[in-house]
């Protein structure tokens, strides 16, 4: 968390909502329950992320959603300094990690890396998911961040 606020990044960034066609709704509903839910093909059992209407591996439309453990490792990262949104004016630097999930076919997710943003970030480091609920947002949503595993 940033020292100033209750969230890692300041409030005022766009709130994530599912598309009108509902493709990603199960994921965002899952985060509200503190669960990481991603797509898995019922036909070939392959994992898929981000969501799509068809399985890229076997072209089945029979895609389900499964809960995965919030454990992964850092695949890449960036440290952002220049504010590209008014809400981020005093926010830099902040750390962003691309995390791969070995238990789910190495699909990748983006989140912020909690802790000192200036600390070195190592590709390959193990991280665990941290849910950050924004209950007062309209509409409410929950982000999924990462912290270095103990």
């Amino acid at each position: 968390m940033s020292p100033a606020g209750k969230y890692y990044l300041p409030e005022g960034l766009p709130a994530p909502v599912p598309e009108p066609d509902g493709l990603s709704a199960p994921y965002w509903e899952g985060t509200r329950r503190g669960e990481l839910i991603i797509q898995r093909c019922r036909a070939c059992r392959g994992w898929q992320w981000g969501p799509e209407w068809i399985c890229h591996a076997c072209l089945s439309f029979d895609l389900g959603w499964e809960r995965v453990e919030g454990r992964g490792r850092i695949y890449s990262w960036e440290r952002s300094w220049h504010p590209v949104h008014p809400a981020l004016k005093e926010a830099g630097p902040y750390a962003v990690v691309l995390v791969e999930l070995p238990a789910a076919g190495n699909v990748r997710m983006i989140g912020n890396l909690l802790g000192d943003p200036r600390a070195p970030i190592d590709v390959g480091a193990e991280v665990t998911a941290v849910f950050e609920p924004h209950d007062d947002a309209k509409p409410p949503f929950t982000l999924v961040h990462w912290r270095r595993a103990d």
Binding site: L9, L13, P14, A15, P16, V17, P18, E19, P20, L23, S24, W28, W49, G50, P51, E52, H56, Y75, S76, W77, E78, R79, S80, W81, H82, V84, H85, P86, L88, A91, P93, Y94, V96, L98, V107, R108, M109, I110, G111, N112, V123, P139, F141, L143, H145
Partner: protein, 393 residues
Amino acid sequence: MSTRTIRGQVAIAGIGETAYYKHGQAPEPEFKLALMAILNACEDAGIPPREIDGFASYSNDRNDPSRLAAALGLPDLKFSNMQWGGGGGGGAGAVGNAAAAIAAGYADCIVVFRALAQGQFARFGQGPRVATISGDAAFTTPYGVMSPGQRYAMRAMRFMHEHKVDRSALRAIALASYHHAQANPRAVMHGRPLTAEAYDASRWIVEPFRLFDCCMENDGAAALVLVSAERARDLRHRPAYLLGVAQGSEYRNGAPSHNAPLYGTSSFTTVAPRLYAMAGVGPKDVDVLQSYENFTGGVLMSLVEHGFFPPEASNEFLVLDNLLAPGGSLPLNTSGGNLAECYMHGLELQLEAVRQLRGTSTSQVPDVDVSMVISGPMVTPVSSLILGSAATR
């Protein structure tokens, strides 16, 4: 079976541009800038504007061909084409689409253009000012990943990690563009030289990119006139023959939420081999290269994926002397490019590639026969092309 190719069939006969401005500073509206660049390109070619019978552009250019054709009084609009994809990835692709249309007989004189006036319209390097966001952007924007630099920094970071590339390699790319811009009076950064010390002292935008690793944002317009090779021979300038063009991107490059299987890539791993196959030349034959700098990390990967050096040789190859005209082993971005001439979404690079074949660059490489352009790395689709002199045709 006949060989399907545009090799040698089409040439760039004219190039034109407006003055280039810092973003928001163009004194003219965007549509007028587009018209001015198009007329300048026709004048350069020695072709009456009313002979234009087609337009091709990319990156959702706002100046649509029907309005252009009406404004210019064109008697018969035969080809209107927009290359899909954002950023500058479609720059060479748009030229390829126009060339294919000429070779196929759809049209005879096609203008490829790009116009930008960011005071009139939104800037690229700023995030969305909206209350909610959905789709793929919902997985990145709330985490502060929304500008092009933020979207692509992790691709470059992964590549640099995998291949132990030093930041000095990125620095050499930035310094080369700034060096060449000092000889080019058109360049927005003309008279603003960059030293290694100033580069090192510049602020971070998003690591691994410093300020000078990032393209400018500019206003202006640029245009190219394409005709058949036969027609081009009778015109004012030495024709720049199109030897090859390729576009696309590798397997699932556009997978959502940064899930492209090959992640540390400029998206050219399958495009570059197709380009060379059509052009009938290889990287060793390239005399001068313009490689789109959205960010220097994209140039690094573009050069590797186009076979100029293996990834593990990045640190040795990417030193300033290698990249400078006239004598470097691979003169790079000889007008100043997106970093220091003008960010005209890379179309200014195509104009410079033509100048190098004509012998009229402000940083001329001697005896250029093969002049290459790489468009828009890391986005998808991307594209690249190779131009050649009459000797290569």
